[in-house]
């Protein structure tokens, strides 16, 4: 053993000492300046505190009964929107997903499908909903279209990636039997991607339910519209009831999809 103990410290991220401290100082200065531009309006906050008190008081005793008719109508609308948009979205996302998989789609089809998916994904649901509400008027139809469109972007992209990750050996083997393109799809690709497609579809069901509450706020119908109305009328006890129902349904979806996914392996 050597008697001399040699010291070691990890090398700094920026080797140049002057540059290093310069960068740190610059960052601190920027944060100071940035925070100084935020306005804290203490009077408004203290006024809001009273409302916040009402809000939380409402949450402590949720009221399911007095607005139950509105809540029920909103829920039914949301659930209908969720189920229809998910089904339509899945059906349409499959051709787009297949078209966007580089290993099976011809180049022009691939480019078109990828571009469509990129557009569908670049727009947030709320933005699409605002646009479609303008096009089709208030109500659940706009919400249905919004969620179906968003589902295509989401599912098609993940499906395409899953197809691209398929084991190529069975594809080659099925092709070698003289099978046509559709048969290769049905026999070599579909069995490999089916579990993930089912899992993602179930996941999308609960995303779509949550989103149906959000797009309702911008006028696309559903439970979101009911929630928005309750908030606007300061009926926090009804709002609390709606939120609890949303949480309950999302949890139920979560458990159900977990159960089904475990079954399909």
């Amino acid at each position: 053993m050597s008697a001399i103990s040699r010291r070691w410290t990890p090398p700094p991220l920026i080797a140049n000492r002057a540059l290093r401290y310069g960068v740190y100082a610059g960052l601190c200065l920027y944060l100071l300046v940035a925070f100084s531009t935020i306005e804290f309006n203490w009077t408004r906050m203290s006024e809001g505190a009273a409302r916040a008190g009402n809000l939380f008081a409402g949450f402590l005793r949720p009221d399911f009964t007095s607005r139950w008719d509105d809540i029920e109508a909103g829920l039914l609308e949301s659930l209908t929107m969720t189920v229809t948009s998910t089904i339509v979205g899945i059906i349409l996302s499959i051709p787009f997903g297949i078209g966007a998989a580089r290993n099976i789609a011809p180049a022009p089809v691939y480019a078109f499908c990828r571009a469509f998916i990129a557009v569908a994904r670049s727009l947030q649901e709320v933005i699409i909903a605002i646009f479609l509400v303008v096009l089709f008027g208030f109500g659940p139809f706009a919400g249905f279209l919004t969620l179906a469109f968003a589902t295509i972007g989401f599912l098609a992209k993940l499906l395409a990636e899953d197809i691209e990750d398929c084991d190529p050996a069975p594809l080659e083997a099925i092709r070698a039997t003289g099978a046509g393109w559709w048969q290769v799809l049905a026999y070599a690709i579909l069995p490999q991607v089916a579990p993930r497609l089912i899992g993602l579809s179930l996941y999308r069901v609960d995303i779509n339910f949550r989103e149906s509450a959000v797009v309702g706020i911008v006028g696309a119908g559903g439970i979101g519209a009911t929630l928005n109305t309750a908030m606007d009328r300061y009926e926090f006890d009804s709002a609390a009831a709606i939120l609890l129902i949303i949480i309950g349904i999302v949890l139920a979806c979560e458990y159900a999809s977990g159960f089904i996914r475990a079954k399909v392996q």
């Binding site: 050996a169 069975p170 080659e172 083997a173 099925i174 092709r175 070698a176 039997t177 003289g178 099978a179 046509g180 559709w182 048969q183 049905a186 026999y187 070599a188 069995p191 490999q192 089916a194 579990p195």
Partner: protein, 272 residues
């Protein structure tokens, strides 16, 4: 009868995988194709059923020039060529029966195959080959529930149910233990004899090839450097194919193995 004439394959990367190969395989003959990794064995057999597009030359199966077929005609021609793969290439999530019936896809329309409504004659054929490879007890198991040897039997059954004139076999034993390797090779060779099938078998294990095939073709850098009976594989011939090495152990091993079938042979030398 398969006749390959001046076949050349150059990949778009510029690699010359198959260099002016001419080879004919009469019905009923099993040819072992040996050579180092990268010698072009896989490319050569994939050119035959055009999983790889040949760059030049011609390939005739019973007089039909495969290298000039259109897409539709190629599908028809592929039905006459069964292929067996190294890692079995089964569709894991399908059952044994579905995997075997996929060998009939070239004969059945899309919807019938998609709905698994195969003609009874195809189902009868599937049962016959499954019985032949000894898997009748496993028909409704998923392919990924089987052992390696059983999986390769499914692969063989899938190729046979096509009722092919030619078998293209790509490293059938590379993922199997020595005993199972022999059983699989024996099965392939016996079936070729029963049905009068021509076969090209890519194989790394020289000793195993010598035990089972009637003719050995040695490939080096895409060109044929040896073509003859198994016992013509002298140390000089092996050096010509693989490069210099002490070959005494490989050859004597093969002969010992022939006598002592039950012992587990040391594969490391043979597959080096």
């Amino acid at each position: 009868m398969l006749v390959i004439d001046n076949l050349t394959k150059r990949y778009s990367t510029g690699d010359l995988a198959v260099d002016n190969v001419s080879l004919s395989v009469p019905a009923g003959q099993v040819v072992g194709l040996i050579g180092p990794s990268g010698a072009g064995k896989s490319s050569l057999i994939r050119c035959v059923n055009r999983l790889v597009e040949p760059s030049g030359g011609s390939i005739k199966l019973n007089g039909l020039d495969l290298s000039r077929l259109s897409r539709g005609a190629l599908g028809q021609a592929r039905r006459r060529m069964g292929m067996i793969f190294q890692e079995y290439a089964l569709v894991d999530r399908l059952t044994v029966m579905e995997n075997v019936l996929s060998g009939r896809l070239g004969y059945v329309g899309f919807w019938r195959s998609y709905l698994r409504r195969f003609p009874q004659s195809d189902i009868d054929r599937a049962f016959v080959v499954l019985e032949r490879v000894g898997l009748l007890d496993h028909i409704d198991k998923r392919a990924d529930a089987l052992s390696g040897g059983q999986r390769q039997r499914v692969g063989i059954a899938r190729a046979l149910v096509q009722e092919p004139d030619l078998l293209l076999v790509d490293e059938p034993t590379a993922s199997l233990d020595p005993k199972t390797s022999r059983q699989i090779m024996r099965l392939i060779v016996e079936i070729c004899a029963e049905r009068g099938l021509a076969a090209i078998v890519n194989i790394h294990d020289v000793a195993l090839a010598q035990m089972f095939v009637q003719r050995i073709v040695g490939l080096r850098k895409g060109a044929i450097v040896f073509d003859g009976p198994p016992d013509g594989l002298t140390p000089e011939a092996l050096t010509e194919i693989y490069g210099a090495e002490d070959w005494a152990a490989t050859i004597s091993k093969a002969q010992e193995d022939d006598e002592a079938e039950t012992g587990l042979p040391d594969k490391t030398l043979a597959s080096a």
